[in-house]
């Protein structure tokens, strides 16, 4: 059997190592224009190339074969790095697919017939590599999104102490069940730790109030009441007031105010403070 009749052999690749790597880097560089240096790309390509030629013949095996574990982990790592750097799925996958172009160009230049048989099998193998890389990419992106959602949850629920015994919770963004749970816990913890008996929930930044959001707000207020604190809902915009009434939501005995300043004034009054304007404005 000649070299060409065993398409799983890496001899053709190894023989033309330098040329393939150069062409590969050239083809891959077109896609990532300017975002990776030539040296980085060259390094990545060499790593993949060396990992491929170190493998046993690919004939009759697929990428899940235990013998290919090293290659899989290398590709997975590269895909994760690309996902974090913000490359698109196409850019990530073409980094691998570029090897087909490189090998084909090289074979054309040499005009070897056996080479084409090798290429047909090799092409399928590279497709597998590309798909695997896309999978890893998608997983990595998924992880990034989950992390961001978690940190957003952390960031979006500050409880601010406005006055002795008065805290405010400015809500920004849509309220869903998971977020409401965090919001509720934060607010109640803050009420207990600061010993505040008034809380202002400001919904200026909440884009829409539907029955579910209203339900969540009511629950938060009820829980605060159980602790012995009274809540005021502020930042009710005209459209929101209309929606709330249209949906038939009853806020019952909960005080609602259109602005945070009105709410603060009410909270101060309830805690026994009076805000008085002095006639003389100078200190």
């Amino acid at each position: 059997m000649s070299v060409a009749s065993t398409p799983g052999d890496w001899t053709i690749l190894e023989r033309n190592r330098q040329e393939i790597i150069e062409r590969w880097v050239g083809a891959a560089a077109k896609n990532v224009a300017g975002r990776m240096t030539q040296a980085e790309l060259d390094h990545d390509v060499r790593e993949i190339f060396d990992a491929i030629v170190a493998l046993p013949h690919f004939e009759g095996r697929d990428l899940t074969d235990p013998a290919y574990a090293d290659l899989r982990s290398l590709l997975g790592e590269l895909a994760r790095a690309r996902a974090r750097q913000g490359f698109s799925p196409t850019e990530t996958a073409t980094g691998v697919f570029a090897v087909k172009e490189a090998v084909l160009d090289m074979l054309e230049a040499q005009a070897e017939l056996e080479g084409y048989q090798f290429f047909a099998a090799f092409s399928r193998f590279v497709d597998d590599l590309g798909l695997f890389m896309l999978d890893s990419y998608a997983q990595a992106r998924e992880a990034v999104i989950t992390e961001q959602a978690a940190s957003l949850l952390e960031l979006s629920t500050p409880v601010v102490r406005l006055w002795e015994g008065i805290v405010t919770l400015p809500l920004v963004g849509t309220l869903d069940s998971a977020r409401t749970q965090v919001v509720m816990e934060r607010l109640l913890e803050a009420l207990v730790s600061t010993g505040s008996d008034h809380a202002i929930i400001d919904i200026t930044g909440v884009p829409a109030v539907d029955t579910q959001v209203a339900q969540h707000l009511l629950k938060t207020v009820m829980a605060a009441r159980l602790l012995g604190a009274e809540c005021i809902i502020s930042g009710v915009r005209p459209q929101i007031a209309q929606t709330v009434v249209g949906l038939g939501i009853d806020f019952g005995t909960i005080a609602t105010k259109s602005s945070l300043s009105d709410a603060l004034l009410l909270a101060l009054r309830r805690s026994g403070y009076d805000v008085v304007k002095r006639a003389n404005r100078e200190r």
Partner: protein, 133 residues
């Protein structure tokens, strides 16, 4: 421990729950408290549940019932020191303890009862002077 101690502070009874409330302990407390209110002629009850970490629907309803009984016996009841987790649980269970007054701590609960009594006294004075004035 089978009984929750009920302490008397002037006209107010202080119940401090320091253990996880078993069902039978809660039932015993309901009985004891009703008797103590009548016997001591108290007009206020403070139930401190700072140490209560776990509640279920039964305990939630017991708190509500105890408060209602005290009210019928003319003693204003304030539940103080509820933990955030307990409050969330009760709300999720759909128990908003309507009619039960709450305060953040014993201090504030006491103040609440005193202002209530002052207001009630004022009302009595007004009623007393009503025919004359």
């Amino acid at each position: 421990m089978d009984r929750i101690p009920i302490l008397r502070l002037g006209n107010i009874l202080l119940v401090s729950i320091q253990v996880d409330l078993q069902d039978h302990v809660a039932l015993a407390l309901e009985e004891d408290l009703a008797e103590r209110i009548v016997e001591s002629e108290a007009d206020g009850v403070l139930i401190d549940i700072t140490a209560l970490e776990i509640v279920d629907s039964f305990i939630g309803r017991m708190i509500s019932t105890i408060a209602s009984i005290s009210k019928v016996l003319d003693a204003e009841t304030v539940v103080v020191g509820m933990r955030p987790a307990v409050a969330i649980t009760l709300v999720e269970l759909g128990l908003s303890l309507e009619g039960v007054r709450t305060a953040l701590d014993v201090d504030r609960g006491l103040a609440l009862l005193q202002t209530d009594r002052a207001a009630a006294d004022e009302l009595l004075d007004v009623e007393a002077t009503w025919p004359a004035g």
